[in-house]
Symmetry: D2
Subunit: 342 residues, 4 copies
């Protein structure tokens, strides 16, 4: 059976990445692509690398007949997303890639995003889309909220450790190195090649990055008490990739064992041998996450490093993985391609 797919917001990077992935999926067919400001254009005009595919012309959301759609990926900006989704048919299966349904508590949402949530009903039913940890809920969900790409990377490094109680919850530092496609196709001076290339810097320093809302929610729930991490992202002159360097306290051997056990059956999460470290270049374009553990020279200090591709495992690959679960497909279908190196 072929699932009919709609992608809303197809003119951004995550939209293009969804098309790249779904084009290889044996049981999915792209039926509708929306992009309000680019409606009427072909996808080849917006993304020439997709010109070999026979894709529907970009349209406005209102032009889509959702009764014919089996799965709707929503790759719209946050805030727009909640407005759009609340107006879609209430039985339509949706994977949302925006930030709008990640936080369960409306007060948390307002704290991090500044506005009242405009789709409380949908917020209430949404499942947090970190596939490896919410798999069972996702299978039966109608609406899945894709995670932040930074939030996913940090959680892959830390969730099993917090759940198992093997690290000190009050001493967790996440230093992230993020490639530029995570900022989207937005026209900002600091994203220009001439500005970004050959230089790098920290941003949203001091605990202001919105993905902290997800860390707080998820880590506190896991621990059964409030957990706050320090989180400093850095913008790196590369197109794809997130490298999370987590500084934690515990026993390195136990940390490594805990991660190995947690991910032993996971097709996409690879824990490297003790002492080895991952590189973003070895997961580029793939749905894999590589995790390394190293003991620091200071007793009781451990460095856990996770690497993934922000557009694939960090957003669109995760979205497809969730859609597979929701549609009864094998979770890995269309997602086992090799990384592109060099």
């Amino acid at each position: 059976m072929t699932h009919k797919i709609a992608i809303l917001g197809a003119s951004g990077y995550t939209g293009a990445e969804l098309v790249r992935l779904i084009a290889q999926h044996p049981n999915m067919e792209i039926t509708a692509l929306s992009a309000d400001r680019k409606a009427g254009l072909s996808m080849a005009q917006v993304f020439p690398h997709l010109r070999y595919l026979h894709l529907p012309t970009l349209c406005k959301i209102g032009e889509i007949d959702f009764s014919q759609i089996d799965m709707c990926f929503c790759a719209l900006p946050h805030k727009t997303s909640q407005e759009v989704i609340s107006a879609l048919p209430s039985d339509l299966k949706i994977v949302d890639l925006s930030a709008d349904f990640r936080l369960r508590d409306p007060a948390d949402y307002k704290k991090w995003y500044g506005n009242d949530h405009a789709a409380l009903a949908q917020q209430g039913e949404a499942i947090y889309g970190l596939s490896e940890f919410y798999r069972d809920d996702i299978r039966t969900a109608r609406l899945v909220a894709g995670t932040g790409c930074n939030a996913a990377t940090g959680q892959f490094a830390l969730r099993p450790l917090i759940a198992a109680g093997v690290i000190d919850l009050d001493n967790i530092i996440l230093d992230l190195k993020c490639a530029v496609s995570g900022a989207g196709r937005s026209l900002k001076e600091n994203l220009l090649h001439a500005e970004l290339s050959e230089g790098y810097h920290a941003y949203a320093v001091g605990g202001t990055h919105r993905h902290l809302g997800e860390f707080d929610q998820e880590f506190s729930a896991l621990a059964g008490r409030p957990v706050q991490v320090q989180f400093t992202p850095h913008l790196i002159p590369a197109n794809r990739g997130i490298l999370a360097t987590a500084y934690v306290r515990g026993d390195a051997g136990v940390v490594h064992d805990t991660l190995c056990a947690a991910y032993a059956q996971e097709p996409f999460i690879e824990v490297l041998p003790m002492g080895e470290v991952p590189s973003t270049r070895h997961v580029r374009g793939s749905n894999f996450c590589h995790i390394g553990v190293v003991a620091d020279r200071i007793e009781g200090r451990v460095i856990v490093i996770a690497a993934l591709d922000n557009l694939t495992k960090g957003s669109s690959g995760q979205a497809l993985q969730n859609a597979n679960l929701m549609l009864g497909e094998d979770e890995t279908t269309g997602l086992m391609m090799a990384p592109l190196f060099p």
Copy 2:
């Protein structure tokens, strides 16, 4: 039926690219991987991005039982390749990615490569591996010689025009912009990131690049008389891609029509609408070649631009395409993946 595959010289970039592609092929299984200096290592140690695959340990060529192999890809350096291939079973199907069997005339080989050819019998039977133009011969070939990556790009732009006699044969200039992976995994100062990044230059200027041997052979054969092109490659700070800017003389409309007609049925060659130009970023990681045609402001001058990924369509993708033909598979099997952008 699953074809058993051996890759000789698996520790280089074209070897890794072959593994990446074959891993997605439904009817191929990698049975042996050789890398003389790295024998005994796992592929994951040499190429950590391939660690998710269950691959044979790297071995020496002598350890392979070729009676169990259906197709052997040979990704060795030139000169080594002819020595190795002349000692392989004479009925083994081989796609060679080196330069050793591209030139049909031993004198041409000596002229461009400096040494006498050590495998004249195999040289005699080898078919030139430009799939789109030697398809029928490749289907029944035992030994196929993969083309040079620059040679492939230039030929995609020019072969139909020379064959149709629609351009001036004495006024062809090929200005190529080549990404660095084409130079292989070789330890040279000018390939270091600190040397190459943020700068670019021409190399092998004036007609000394060895791929000219292929241009001379192929274009002269097509034209039925000697044809010499000017060819200047430039090294660009990017990892994958070749952009060939061809300056020719003729009528732009006729040139475009001729290319459109020649490639109308080709799954991997896309001729863009008149006046549009390709970019390497839109073919990265894929087996596609994009071609654009623009009329110059000077009457009778035309610019033809071709873009492809040197590691995929320029070498390993081409090799797999040829192997598909030789094994009776559909030519496109395992090769229809989308480019990776951004």
Copy 3:
């Protein structure tokens, strides 16, 4: 004596480059910096790399007392520049970096830029700012028009050859490879790091690039008859640099001798030994232009390659060189810094 300097349009890349250079000049002092949309900001807010300098706050043009200014650099967009300059005091020494005063014939201006020229008087008095060739006129000029950066590079490669009549005037092809800062600090999708990095393409193909107006004007004047070149620029993923590969017809030895003779006394133009080729990385951040000559394998064909930094020798360095001439300073003052490599 210290010359008081104003820079109009100081918030763009050429403005910042002017500040970088003038900061090292022993006899210049920056007295006013304008940037209409950023008026009121400090230069450190707009360009943090300049924060160590004590610079005037950015202001609106109208706030500058030009009676106190000895030299005004105008780094405004074309069309704005002619409007602003026509309203400035008629005895103010000006080096304009825009395209507005490069073309002497108003009809040529309209042909390439689309609008009628709004400052015909100033256009009439402006001197074309290619320092090495208009040095004497520049010394006494009031208004100097900085050249296009591509136009400068092509002319350094070709002017002596056209002037000496040693190349075929009807067979000149200029294939340029241009770094991205030449496009300015403009917010366009194709200038984003995620779009540009790791890919490259041709643009303004077929004779539509406006710098052709300069080539036509200058080469025709030199030759004493109309000369049209083919010119195809390519956008390269690097921040600074232009590499011009010129395909010409003549005798390589004569071409090399002619260039050596023409530039023997020039402090900034270096002709490399016969057969050597330049790289943009070896002129980055400097006011040097390196030129190489190679004979092609085809008799009578020659490749001439020129490399310079588009922001320095291609615009702001040239501007300072011209200002030195206009102010009676040594032409090289403040400009002999080494390239930055790596």
Copy 4:
């Protein structure tokens, strides 16, 4: 008076950077350049960007008449450096850029570098070359040991805080992002453009990086008791730059005030306004170090970020600054050039 300068090991990046800087110095003249394996070549052959300078031909060290030298920069590999320096005239002023004389205790040297020190006498007299903190000793020193580039960056962020006792000495984490030129001009696979570009990773994780020897020595001396920091460097796809993100505990306001006070008179160290963060792109090619301070959302946690250019302030710029001190020149002579941006 013009000081006669020798540079030993001039064919590496720090050697080339020394030449770049000294070429602008009004009172220094390069008299001798050594590079054992490249002796006999001109500097222009090894570093074409320096071809405009009239420099001595590269020679072997033994060919230099050190009696004519006022200042010798030694840019040799560690271990070689101690052998060479112990054989030089004992009254020759030397700035050594290697690791050989940074650690005062021979046992520390052996611990971090593996071999017994072969020049104990010189080790005893060497002054640690962090100009801002050892200025007085450097002025009268004969032999100054340039610091590690990572070590310099971390110390600029932390020394005043440790000295003032305003941070918790047992909770210091240094997460560094290092550009590739810090690895030198060495032929290693992981430094190739095709390997490094578009990817990044941690290295020497867990406390094995040799610059920790310097941190331990310096921070412990400052604190008057043993201090151990956690230090994780990451290799970033850029040519120049180190960004040190320091996670410390204290009061952010006090931290900022302490740094402002410490560096108020320093010409090269700029403490940004509270809450602003530096970028490597804003110090590239310059001798400046930018430092930012941000309070974390968690009470009592502070992030201090320092950025400098590893080849300039991190090594060759620092070396020239020290040479200025040793020769009685103004400390900033030849070093006040602006960063190169973009």
